[in-house]
Symmetry: C2
Subunit: 153 residues, 2 copies
């Protein structure tokens, strides 16, 4: 199948939601993601159940943040999507009685487990708000240079 881009997409959407004061419709989000509103609703539904966003039906409705981005870790979003399988790599026949096959599977399973834990730790380290810090810093630096009269290189 295609690689699962739901986490990347949802982070993208959350960053946009923070910048909007009114609810954003699935139609608008669909345009941001170059996809259709129904897929947006399906994917964002997980975030709603996880208490990350809220949705309002009807005229003037749409999607809003349920809490500040500083209170949402990347892991929160990942888990809101159902903690989808991380790896394209897997084991071979796990019901085999061959001891050699079991040994091979065990080694890979262990490596995947460790890598998975490592990845989740990376996701826990930062909130969604942190994602735009590098950008905010660049903007600030630009302002500083202009204020001090230095010309950009």
């Amino acid at each position: 199948m295609r690689t699962d881009s739901r986490l990347a997409r949802m982070l993208h959407v959350l960053l946009h939601l923070e910048q909007a004061k009114d609810p954003i419709t699935s139609e608008q989000i669909g345009q941001m993601l170059a996809t259709n509103p129904s897929l947006v609703r399906r994917t964002m539904g997980g975030l709603r159940k996880a208490g990350i966003v809220t949705s309002v039906k009807g005229h003037g409705g749409g999607w809003c943040l349920a809490k500040p981005l500083t209170q949402i870790t990347l892991l929160d979003v990942y888990e809101a999507l159902g903690s989808p399988g991380l790896f394209a790599l897997g084991l071979s026949n796990v019901t085999s009685t061959c001891l050699l096959e079991q040994s091979a599977n065990k080694a890979i399973d262990s490596a995947l487990d460790h890598a998975s834990a490592f990845f989740r730790a990376e996701l826990t380290k930062q909130t969604v708000a942190d994602l735009v810090l590098p950008h905010a810093q660049k903007v600030q630096e630009l302002k500083d240079r202009q204020a001090s009269g230095h010309k950009p290189v």
Copy 2:
């Protein structure tokens, strides 16, 4: 698609190859893996090009180890398979000009990169020979108990 089980399968095969003095045919390997000889040849072809195994055509031919398992790391096998994509997770539209989307992608890309490096480090830590050490140790322990006259619990 299905999860990629080639690494697990190849490790399994290498462990069997070490136990055989004569070449093992693709047909025999196919039975170990519950698949067909052609797929075996396709997958093992990568290991041959990487110098991990050798193949002999014709009557009495088949597959042999090209060097001892102590000289083959799990990473060697993984790379012999073409270093297949590790993750089922990916980025969203990487050509987008939206800065927020770029920020989201960057964060995920970084986390995946780190997790990938971590995984590769895990694969580098052990040779294929190490996979059966736990089993060999258990066998040794069993022998020790029997030799010392203790009854197994």
